[in-house]
Symmetry: C2
DNA sequence: ATTGGCACTCAACCATGCCAAGTGCCAATC
DNA sequence: GATTGGCACTTGGCATGGTTGAGTGCCAAT
């Protein structure tokens, strides 16, 4: 495709993102050194419109990039630019004294929101192959049992399950010790065999009760925490000016629901640092029609992303998302 | 105060909440059987305005309740009305099969948002006097230790702390056993004595290392989880029509920050089921100038609340908040 | 292929006039 | 003394209409 047309497309995108107003041939020349006249720009604009990359809101108005236009911009025009020194410093400071993984994610998502001025989201880190450190059973009420699973990676998962009433606390203490002997040190993904072995080692009448708990344990081990999302910067939606914030409502609904976002994440590449951009209709959701998502994988198959109006600063967004994803991935090693 | 004036105030509030437009004497008569003429209503309105309960946006406009007007309405006019049968059923169904406390809160806050069509918030339940069930130490990296505290109530708290490098995993296994012997079964609020006893029982050279961990444990036991808030229905802010949603931004900021909300909760009565209403300037926050909060205590000193425009349906809000706070309190027994 | 010029289009803006809804006040009435 | 009907007055909102400026498409000239 004609490099000048790409250059003009880039200029249009840039101006439109900055001014939020349809950009015409004249004003384009005022801001960019294109080396050609307004008439030439008009001709090229005409062609870009034929190709569906830009669009005219009404006859005598300037041009606005279409989703396809943004896509072409992202794919063929945008170049990643390195973060500024203060930005890199902010990231480093952030990572230095984060204690908890939870704490680390909370800070990351807030930083990402602040740097990009968009809504930021971070998926909980996927559990790598991890061994079980300890299993704890807590009788919370007569027929309620809390099962706690502690992994060597430092993750703690818990679940409350209903159990048959009437068993003494000592019963669960014993069961806990037996379960620990059976599964401690095992991979979370390979619990089936040791658990059945353990059950079969019991006298038949004791099996159903132990099975109740060991099933819960297996389910807990299979839980995918990456089904949760941490979010920050929702207020930035409002900042994004009218047309995008027009119907904030469905947008906030989507953010609260998280379902759409999770589907989105599962559709994305998982390789750490690989940035992926989804624009407007590519998001396949009515409420996200005017939105765009810039996402990247991090750690072992988890994702983080920013969400903003399709009219967003893709260059800055992509650069920041990529940088943060890489830093976090390295840190999680 | 003249009962008819209160009645008129009530009618104004009701109409304004319903129509979102300043209400005049004539239109008031169309909707309410007041038994007097428009002129009389006008005279009373004049008096209500003198008292600062209602306000005229401009000379030839209808009247709008002031914060003080809402306050008087809430204190002297509004009557709690029992929830409808479907609403009560929804609450009961909700509580029946909630496993986790976390899960219970998540459902509660969502239900509250849905029933009232406002933003709903629930503070994490305060820890009653609770005994320690188990302490687990997990060496996550060479100089990082995860401390997990499991209470008999079923609560699980965790924290990662930096420790001196170079200690083998077995060291922490031994330390864990000793700590468990020292604190298991103790009240979380009374850990100081057993921990110092334990430290003093050690040979002097071993003390500093053990102190590192036992300090973290004490800090963890002192953590107040009620410093976290669960939220739902942020999208309802947008639904609340323009004037309130006008500057959604500072509002969303407040919601995300949570600090203002926590301060608010600490200022509120703690007795379960006691509803408290804060209107506009009473919230003492610039961003919440046009907002109102209906809150109630639940459980042991925790709170839940809804937040909406000061022009909200207080009767429904108060009734729902009170009902849910009571149900939850009873359930948590 | 590019450019300057020109006629045309159209949203945004402003001034104007009108209308509906609302008020305050006053004299009459219960 | 409280209530009421009537009336003159106020004012934001809306519809109307003219003007302006930014922008386009097209065409002939370079």
């Amino acid at each position: 495709m004609d490099p000048r047309k790409l250059q003009i497309l880039g200029a249009i995108v840039e101006d439109y993102v900055a001014t939020r107003e349809p950009v015409g041939s004249k004003s384009l020349l005022e801001r960019h050194e294109l080396g050609v006249s307004a008439a030439t720009v008009r001709n090229d604009m005409s062609l870009l419109e034929e190709e569906g990359l830009i669009h005219q809101p009404h006859t005598s108005a300037g041009r606005v990039p279409t989703d396809k236009g943004y896509r072409t911009f992202v794919d063929h025009v945008a170049r990643i630019k390195p973060l500024s020194a203060p930005e890199r410093r902010a990231i480093r400071v952030l990572l230095e004294d984060a204690g908890d993984v939870e704490e680390l994610l909370a800070r990351t998502v807030r930083l990402l929101a602040q740097l990009t001025q968009q809504v930021a989201m971070v998926q909980y880190p996927a559990r790598r192959q991890a061994r079980i450190r300890h299993v704890e059973l807590v009788k919370v009420a007569d027929s309620l049992l809390l099962v706690v699973l502690i992994l060597e990676s430092g993750r703690v998962d818990q679940r409350t399950i209903p159990v048959a009433a009437g068993r003494p606390a000592e019963y669960y203490a014993g069961l806990r010790d037996q379960l620990n002997r059976a599964v401690a040190g095992r991979e979370v993904t390979a619990l089936a065999a040791p658990l059945t072995d353990y059950l079969e080692s019991l006298p038949v009448p004791e099996r159903p009760a132990a099975a109740e708990v060991s099933e819960a344990l297996a389910a807990l081990a299979a839980t995918r925490a990456e089904d949760r999302i941490m979010m920050a910067g929702t207020a930035n939606i409002a900042r994004s000016s009218e047309d995008f914030a027009r119907d904030v409502e469905p947008l906030l609904d989507v953010l609260e629901e998280q379902l759409v976002l999770l589907r989105l994440f599962t559709e994305m590449h998982a390789s750490p640092g690989a940035v992926e951009v989804r624009i407007g209709s590519e998001l396949r959701d009515r409420a996200l029609h005017q939105a765009a998502v810039v996402g990247a994988g991090y750690g072992a198959g988890s994702h983080l992303a920013i969400l903003g109006p399709s009219r967003m600063d893709y260059v800055a967004g992509i650069s920041t998302v990529q940088a943060i994803a890489r830093y976090i991935s390295r840190y999680l090693e």
